[in-house]
């Protein structure tokens, strides 16, 4: 159990890359809303860096990775990072200081509630949003993180695999996004007015930053500068590029034009879907995962209007559906040839692993949806989630923050 400088340096750099994803997400979302809501939308992602980092160092890390209590949650024995220092924690990563593992995981906790904000974009008050996100991280993110990744977590003990957060990050935020879109209701004028993106170059820049940061997210999840990190890096890139190609192709056939927003959406769909599988599958499987993600998430987004909820920026269709699908595709494609520390999936003769993954998908999806729904209802009843009608008309930039993004 010696600290390896190369592993430590790699995970620290990966942590910085994952941090960059949150501002990247802010721009990705910010470009898709109307000009009067761009700052409000960016702020909802950006502020999570502060709120959730604070939560993480005091209780979040301990709840997620602290000593196990009944398979459900970590105890508060590591409150305020007590005992989290220079020596490694062999349960998680035996060659890097535990404090490095802690800060790397902090960046995951930060971006997950930020992902949800796309569902209620353009209509949520700022401080009820902060209260909800903080409570959500404590009651939804931390427990799920412990079940799947924490030593003693019950899903982990069942044999569930999630390399970099298909369950913990994408399905949990996607299920919460569905609850949020239902509880908050549609934006004023939905279905009558058109809500078109005000700045797609901003969205494309955000997608590029997300893609860049995702290498830290997935390859870094190997927690060492080794061959698993290398194959995860490659799988990440291949799924992103094939997701982009597939989305564009389907869109071209369906609507007659390949769009830039489609390219960005397809790449993000591929990235989200390969996240749980990245370190456990080979390059050909990663390409198939990306192709499936591009087509399926396109259909998921298209289904929104028929299902009748206003998930403004398609968190359900891209992250929820992508995370859910990625967990199942991992059950299909997992290969011990790629990662001897993993398992074989259905196509490599192990059908029981596929079933385990399906169970985890249902458990995490239902838990995240139900608890998010209750939390939103409680916060709504106590302080009200939605901005007033005038504020919604005026835009969040002015009503919530007293600023405007663009002046003549």
């Amino acid at each position: 159990m010696h600290v390896q400088p190369a592993d430590t340096a790699f995970v620290l750099i990966s942590a910085a890359l994952v941090l960059l994803m949150t501002p990247g997400l802010a721009l990705f979302y910010g470009g898709m809303v109307r000009a009067k809501n761009v700052l409000g939308t960016i702020m909802q992602s950006f502020i999570m860096i502060s709120v959730i980092s604070l939560e993480w160092v005091y209780i979040g890390y301990s709840m997620s990775f602290g000593p196990d209590v009944g398979g459900f949650i970590g105890s508060l024995a590591m409150f305020g990072l007590k005992g989290v220092g220079a020596s490694p924690n062999p349960s998680y990563a035996s060659t890097i200081p535990q404090v490095v593992f802690m800060i790397y995981q902090c960046m995951f906790a930060v971006i997950t509630p930020a992902l949800i904000t796309g569902a209620f974009a353009e209509r949520m008050r700022f401080w009820p949003f902060m209260i909800f996100s903080l409570l959500w991280t404590i009651l939804v993110y931390n427990p799920i993180c412990h079940w799947v990744w924490g030593a003693g977590g019950w899903l982990k003990a069942m044999g569930v695999l999630d390399f970099a957060g298909g369950l913990v990050v994408h399905l949990s935020s996607g299920a919460a996004a569905l609850a949020a879109a239902i509880v908050l209701g549609k934006r004023k004028g939905y279905g009558r007015e058109t809500f078109m993106p005000h700045n797609l170059p901003l969205t494309l820049l955000g997608a590029g930053l997300l893609w860049f940061g995702w290498f830290g997210f997935n390859a870094g999840s190997a927690l060492a500068a080794n061959s698993v990190a290398g194959s995860a890096f490659v799988a990440t890139h291949l799924a992103a590029m094939s997701g982009m190609a597939m989305w564009i192709l389907v869109e071209w056939i369906h609507r007659g034009k390949p769009t830039t927003l489609g390219a960005a959406s397809g790449a993000v769909a591929g990235l989200a879907t390969v996240t749980p599988a990245a370190g456990f599958v080979g390059p050909n499987s990663a390409v198939v995962i990306g192709l499936v993600a591009g087509a399926l998430c396109y259909m998921g987004v298209a289904a929104k209007s028929r299902l009748g909820y206003d998930d403004s920026l398609d968190v359900v269709g891209i992250h929820g559906l992508g995370g859910f699908t990625g967990i199942l595709l991992l059950g299909l494609f997992a290969s011990k040839v790629v990662n001897p520390g993993g398992v074989n999936g259905l196509l490599n003769g192990n059908p029981s692993f596929f079933v385990t993954q399906l169970v985890a998908d249902v458990v995490v999806g239902v838990y995240a949806f139900v608890v998010s729904w209750i939390l939103l209802k409680v916060v709504d009843t106590l302080i009200g989630l939605r901005v007033t009608e005038e504020a919604e008309l005026e835009g969040l930039d002015l009503s919530e923050h007293g600023e405007t993004a663009y002046t003549m």
């Binding site: 058109t194 078109m196 609507r255 769009t259 396109y298 298209a302």
Partner: protein
């Protein structure tokens, strides 16, 4: 005096400006406007959903001239802005009561 307001396709602005300059017109004001006529709008596609956009971007050129020049200016704009396809725009001619140059206080055709 007449104020001539021409709404033209944005890429025709330079042609119209050059043609009016050649005619000796000394100034004009332009603005970016949106509108629709017989051309109606177009459709845009975002994440697989089609949106109908009614208002299309156009350029509005405002020129003020002595009444005797008006027909010549109208003909020039028509010639320069015409593509022959739907959506070429319109010209509105308005009688103008007064023009004042702020710096000198000159009025009427002297101020144009």
């Amino acid at each position: 005096m007449k104020k001539i307001e021409a709404i033209v396709k944005p890429f025709k602005l330079d042609d119209v400006k050059d043609a009016l300059n050649a005619l000796g017109i000394k100034g004009m004001t332009i603005s970016e406007v949106k509108g629709y006529g017989r051309q109606r709008g177009h459709k845009e596609i975002y994440r697989g959903a089609e949106y109908k956009v009614d208002f299309l971007p156009k350029i509005k050129i405002e020129v003020v001239v002595d009444s005797s020049m008006a027909q010549q200016v109208i003909d020039t704009i028509m010639k320069a802005a015409k593509t022959g396809k739907i959506g070429d725009g319109k010209i509105f001619v308005v009688s103008l009561e007064e023009v004042i140059r702020i710096r000198t206080g000159e009025t009427g055709t002297d101020a144009i």
